[in-house]
Symmetry: D2
Subunit: 276 residues, 4 copies
């Protein structure tokens, strides 16, 4: 059986040796390993895929006793993640995930789709994924989020994916799901934070636009960046042309970021990510 | 003989027809042509390379009488531009231009190099380009710029190239050379405006960094963008690694932008560029 | 009404003038224009979007009389293209086109899908597009293509799109649809022509892989290239990882190429394309 | 003191543990580590930067006794490499290395430049690097290489860099310097092997061109690839335009590859590279 091991702790001498001893003593063998030390913050990161047969709780406890007390240890057999998707009206990111899901190319089960408009219901129905529309009509942000939270409570999910969900989540909402909400922002952050980045890009006259997948934190568009990509634009394109061209980048960037997260390749520390 | 013709005016019916008639009547033939209409601002742009033999002033006057009164017309035989380079301490952009200059791959003559440090004198000397160091020691911005202006007055140049000149030019200085000063900014504008963009990028945890070549206007780092490019960075890189990696992008972006400008492929309108 | 005008002919003096005169006389106005002269082959290319109201046949005839006798003239009001898609088992390119089709982001109507396996029937059914499986079981190439041709004859289509159709088309088949069949090849042509390019790429140890959209001609993987793109790969990836990573590039490259073709921005001459 | 440790051997259980024990027992501490197992060939690769104070020969011997008998172990304190550059007439790659060398941005000492033309002598002289022209006039390949080898013997170098050296080296020559000769090929290999790749690219009508840095082996343009990059081209460019545009890619790709090699980040196995 294959397991993923992730460790993140204050850097000390002999960490790899200690981990390797525990791994060896449990009859596990490394399939792949990666380490990184953030020397500025004196922080150690390690990800390993190991093969063997072991009691995961016992292994984790043994390792924990051997490592610095602040260590964050993740140890699980490799498995698909469970996700809930939040969306609004645009179909490109959701559609891409549904197509990948239907051919088992998405390393996750889509449990449900929640949207603030009914536009994407026919698409969701085609792929037999439960779809719930929670309209914002007549509701303030707190009331609307209360309904969304109630719906979310029905599902046991690992990650919440904002696939072009065009609502700003309140700090209270975000706090409930630390490092669990992934958003695709339709600009090359930190350029063009906020509303309509394509219009901002057009007005600034940039020659390259992009998209950014990031974890959602309290600060709008300021969470830890997972991955980014760009495409060239030119003077012939108005902002709607840029928006259209940007959609392919958005969906690919989101999909790449999810793959990294679902494979447990991403560490979050402060406002940054370490990605193996 | 080959000429470059550039026209930029309010859009009207029949502009291409009118230009083509004048071109034809003067026995000129199009080698290449490009047009663009900015429909938002109802503005027409045209660039053509034409071949033949003509009195440039007479041609320009005839054309002028035929086109809208606001027309900006440029008509010249193709020739190398004359430039002055401003620099500080870093050698990568200046070095790249000097190497290209020495093998005739730069479409310009470098008349002189002016720097606020003496660091690059040995490099400039190797290539026999007049080098003047105007130190800022004991001078305020106005006093220093006065000396720079005095030095600049010695040369009849088409463009001033800021090849990592790490001083902010005053609005008074900039106003003297409208659309004539080209800067390389070491970030993917409008991200990381201002000082030490690599440090800003590192601290934000971005996964892509870039460089931007632009015309200098009153607003710091806000002038019309000519060209941009990016490279990927990762968590293993501190800001000095990013700075080092960024240098190759900076010099290539600056060199590409200059080639476009020297070939008369760039139009500036408001805060944007049209590039053929 | 908006029309697209495309002209391709031997280069002569005064072509733009002549076209502009005819355009002007018919009360048409240029919305946008692009020209290119291939000086090596002395060939002129022009694409224009014009606005007005005109009898298209009369306009085309007038223009034709005015231009060199070898001129190829296309003049039509702007409209969606009709396409038939050929596929095999992989769902990423087909899925991408169906999602775009369903949100009107594809500039074409998908009339039908023909496949040599039944794998993609459920996907096609979800989007209510007629799906026909023509298995190759027990058939040689000629017999199989005969059945495909019979099915194709039911539809009046502008383009045939090979969305990962894993069969080689015979020269006889291809000859019936000159410049009408568009294929996505899963490599950065001309590298890795033929079978399993990802395996070839892996074995060669390249650091970048790509995809190529091209018109299909007699020569396998040798037709005129429309567009290409690449992504970086590394030593950690085996050929199946490369194949997976390549899928996002394949679908985006195919989609970009189709947009260019459907917008009538592509000229084919010999084995090359001119793209405005 | 910082050391670099590189290990490449058949994969076995417990390799990281064994290495870590030896590292720990010698009072060394990991600054950074990377491992990779090529499961297809069952081969283990490890690179580590370690800090401490140790007798390098004793350390290497101890480690060697502890690891599989086929292990290739490299252990040295971090230092600049010594290189000899071979060139012909083009100045862009050589110029880039000289500029970087002069500002200590090249992690190597340039001991000498050997060329088969005298064109680059003035450039080399500017930077005070010994330059030797060994003309091919009147000599066959064997005779010419004999003279080059004689010149090379004067220098104790770690790597030989072919900075656009436009001669094909004979297998006999190459065999003397296994994994020591690095070439920049002006195409995106394996596309356009052989002479004038830009002309080949132009004639094929590709939309992207590139450059490839690789170790030189017996097979022309077939050695292990270190790094590659690409740029977009279009129908307006003839092959000389592509060549000019390609130069910036060539020099950046070569420079990036050298940095990886000089930092001891590259392993060569069969015809591939593992790059940390």
């Amino acid at each position: 059986m294959d397991y993923i091991l992730k460790i993140d702790c204050n850097d000390e001498k002999g960490l790899i040796l200690r981990v390797s001893e525990i791994v060896f003593k449990h009859g596990l063998n490394y399939v792949s390993t990666s380490e990184f030390v953030d020397h500025e913050n004196s922080r150690f990161y390690m990800r390993a895929v190991v093969v063997g047969q072991v009691n995961t709780i016992e292994f984790q406890n043994t390792l924990s006793a051997y490592l610095p007390s602040d260590s964050v240890i993740f140890f699980e057999s490799i498995k698909k993640k469970d996700i809930v998707i939040l969306a609004t009206k645009e179909n490109h990111c959701l559609g891409d995930l549904l197509i990948k899901h239907s051919s088992k190319d998405l390393n996750a089960n889509i449990l449900a789709i929640i949207a603030n408009h009914d536009t994407l219901r026919p698409l969701s129905d085609k792929f037999d994924i439960p779809f719930t529309c929670i309209s914002t009509d007549g509701l303030d942000r707190v009331e609307h989020e209360k309904l969304v939270l109630k719906e979310l409570e029905k599902y046991k999910f690992d990650y919440m994916v904002l696939a072009k969900y065009m609502r700003i989540l309140s700090p209270d909402f975000v706090k409930r799901y630390p490092k669990k909400i992934i958003n695709i922002h339709h600009s090359f952050l930190p350029a063009f934070i906020g509303a309509n980045p394509y219009k901002q890009a057009y007005e600034r006259g940039v020659k390259i636009i992009g998209a950014t997948a990031h974890f959602v934190t309290d600060d709008l568009d300021e969470g830890p960046i997972i991955t980014q990509d760009v495409i060239r634009v030119n003077h012939e394109m108005n902002w709607k042309d840029m928006q259209k061209a940007g959609r392919d980048v958005e969906k690919v960037v989101l999909s790449n970021a999810l793959e990294l997260v679902f494979d447990e390749r991403v560490f979050v520390y402060d406002n940054k990510t370490v990605i193996f």
